[in-house]
């Protein structure tokens, strides 16, 4: 197999090849590391490439597998993670000059779980500074570029993760999602991004942006790959009191269940307003595809969703202002301008504002839960527009000119406020060949259902097979 073909193999496909010993972890790791060195100057998706350490891990995995010690589907798989996950003894910057010398004393729980599963960490990925932004334009190493058009942004804040996965520079990644930071770049880069239920995956050792809104999840090229990664990282963690002891089901088994009779809820308000026409057409076509596969469509009413972004921003501002209070006093000049300004604005949020936003959050969650008692998932666009140009600050949608960040995150905030699981899967392409994402939102801890429907959709289409120019 040619190196480029190998690098675009799905995580699940590579796992099969490694288990059969048809491809070695050393061969796979060498291929992606070479690819990073060849192409990442155009993408700027890696903050740190850990070539030597990765090759050592790969040789150890190869020996263990050859000796009959195969651990499971992630054994020997080269991955990379957003640079806000703590990696013991290795630089962890959170995309900020402030943390350029920070080497954590321990691994994040999810990193430990990936190591235990035998995954090979090849590097740490670019991100919007401190995860506070949806464009990935502000970072200590500069903007990350979209592999479908390097003059466009990948979305953020997990932009490096999405770009690297889309360009075949790793076989899977982890991102974090506070207002859409997994799903937005997944949609703009044409990959799968899953934000699990709040409490499903540990955030211990993940630099926080907003404690009550932060989620950790997988970013991959296929739904089955996301299921494999979630399987490894999900579960209770005594270091993160928000994690639940709920049983972790077998997500890969759930994928193959029939979706005949599954109920799709299509929101009648908000989600299909102010959309780029190509996004609207692609999502409508995706709903028809799911109907043909046996799902039933129902209209649902979610009128409070239009307030979710305002509530999410207030909560995030207040919590991040507290998290960054000390850095603002000691390292004010080291922040990128837009992140610094946002954090300063957060200093003005009063306790009563925060509680008002949390009260509104209760209503939004109750409304979404009520809708999800009638249907299995809500189906919406992930992002209202395809990837904007780098440097673009405003966009015209729905006869209105709006701010780019406002546009990128307006449809993803509700699932963060509710804490419910949500996935973005590729569902189309603009005339300019830019990817479009479909969002499925499920009941709490029903990741299996969300993955099942996303997988069923993926099997009916070829959008996930498209590759960027690299």
């Amino acid at each position: 197999m040619e190196a480029s073909e190998l690098c675009y193999t799905s995580l699940r496909g590579l796992a099969t090849l490694i288990q059969r010993q048809e491809v070695s972890p050393v061969e796979a790791t060498q291929a992606v590391v070479d690819r990073v060195e060849k192409f990442d100057r155009q993408l700027n998706s890696f903050i740190t490439l850990q070539r030597d350490e990765a090759m050592l891990q790969a040789r150890a995995a190869e020996q263990e597998i050859c000796a009959g010690g195969y651990r499971g589907p992630l054994h020997g798989i080269p991955i990379a993670v957003k640079d806000l996950f703590y990696t013991k003894g290795n630089q962890t910057t959170a995309g900020s000059k402030i943390l350029r010398d920070f080497k954590p004393a321990y691994d994040a729980t999810v990193i430990s779980k990936l190591h235990d599963a035998g995954a090979i960490l090849i590097g740490k990925l670019n991100m919007h500074e401190f995860a506070r932004g949806a464009t990935n334009m502000s970072s200590l190493i500069g903007a990350c570029n979209n592999p479908w058009d390097t003059l466009r942004m990948p979305g953020g804040s997990s932009g490096g993760s999405a770009a690297a996965v889309a360009a075949g520079l790793c076989f899977g990644s982890l991102g974090s999602d506070t207002g859409g930071s997994i799903r937005i770049p997944a949609a703009l880069c044409g990959i799968v991004g899953l934000k699990p239920t709040y409490g499903r995956v540990s955030r211990h050792g993940v630099f926080p942006l907003s404690w009550s809104l932060d989620h950790v999840g997988p970013m991959t090229r296929t739904v089955a790959d996301a299921a494999l990664m979630l399987q490894v990282i999900a579960g209770h963690d005594r270091h993160d009191p928000t994690t639940r002891t709920a049983v972790v089901p077998d997500y890969s088994v759930a994928l193959t269940r029939d979706i005949e009779g599954a109920r799709l809820g299509i929101p009648q308000e908000f989600y299909f307003e102010q959309l780029d026409a190509e996004v609207r057409d692609s999502v409508r076509a995706a709903i028809q595809t799911l109907e043909r596969a046996g799902a039933q469509v129902e209209e649902v009413s979610l009128p409070l969703s239009k307030y979710a972004a305002a509530a999410g921003r207030i909560i995030s501002l207040a919590e991040s202002a507290e998290i960054h209070e000390q850095f603002l006093k000691t390292h004010m000049a080291d922040y990128t301008p837009d992140v610094r300004a946002g954090l300063l604005a957060g200093q003005l949020v009063l306790g009563k504002h925060y509680l008002k936003a949390q009260r509104l959050r209760s209503l939004i969650r109750q409304e979404m839960a009520a809708a999800l008692r009638r249907v299995d998932v809500l189906v919406t666009p992930t992002v209202p527009i395809p990837a904007p140009r780098i440097g673009q600050t405003m966009v015209d949608i729905g006869h209105e000119t709006v701010d780019i960040t406002w546009a990128l995150s307006r449809l993803t905030h509700p699932a963060n406020l509710a804490g419910f699981p949500a996935i973005s899967v590729p569902c189309g392409s603009s005339l300019g060949e830019l990817p479009i994402g479909l969002q499925l939102i499920g009941r709490p801890f029903a990741e299996a259902t969300v993955l099942q429907l996303a997988y069923a959709y993926e099997q009916e289409t070829t959008w996930h097979q498209r590759r960027p120019m690299f």
């Binding site: 009550s212 972004a309 305002a310 946002g342 300063l344 604005a345 209760s362 960040t405 804490g419």
Partner: protein
């Protein structure tokens, strides 16, 4: 974020509330659109009748 309409004087008054943070003129300029968004969001929240609902906590998220 929206394009700012706040005057430098208004921004200065707001920033005086920031407590112990001395901002340069360029930092004040950067802050303006974020303040616009913040106040717009606060107005949105104020416009909604929240009834008697209590603040959210996600620690009690329940499964299926």
């Amino acid at each position: 974020m929206t394009a700012t309409t706040l005057s430098p004087q208004t921004i200065g008054e707001m920033v005086s509330k920031l407590g112990g943070l001395a901002l340069s003129p360029s930092e004040l300029e950067e802050l303006a659109p974020h303040l616009e968004t913040l106040f717009s969001d606060l107005q949105t929240l104020t416009s909604i009748d929240l009834g008697e609902v209590e603040p959210e906590t996600l620690f009690d998220v329940q499964g299926e």
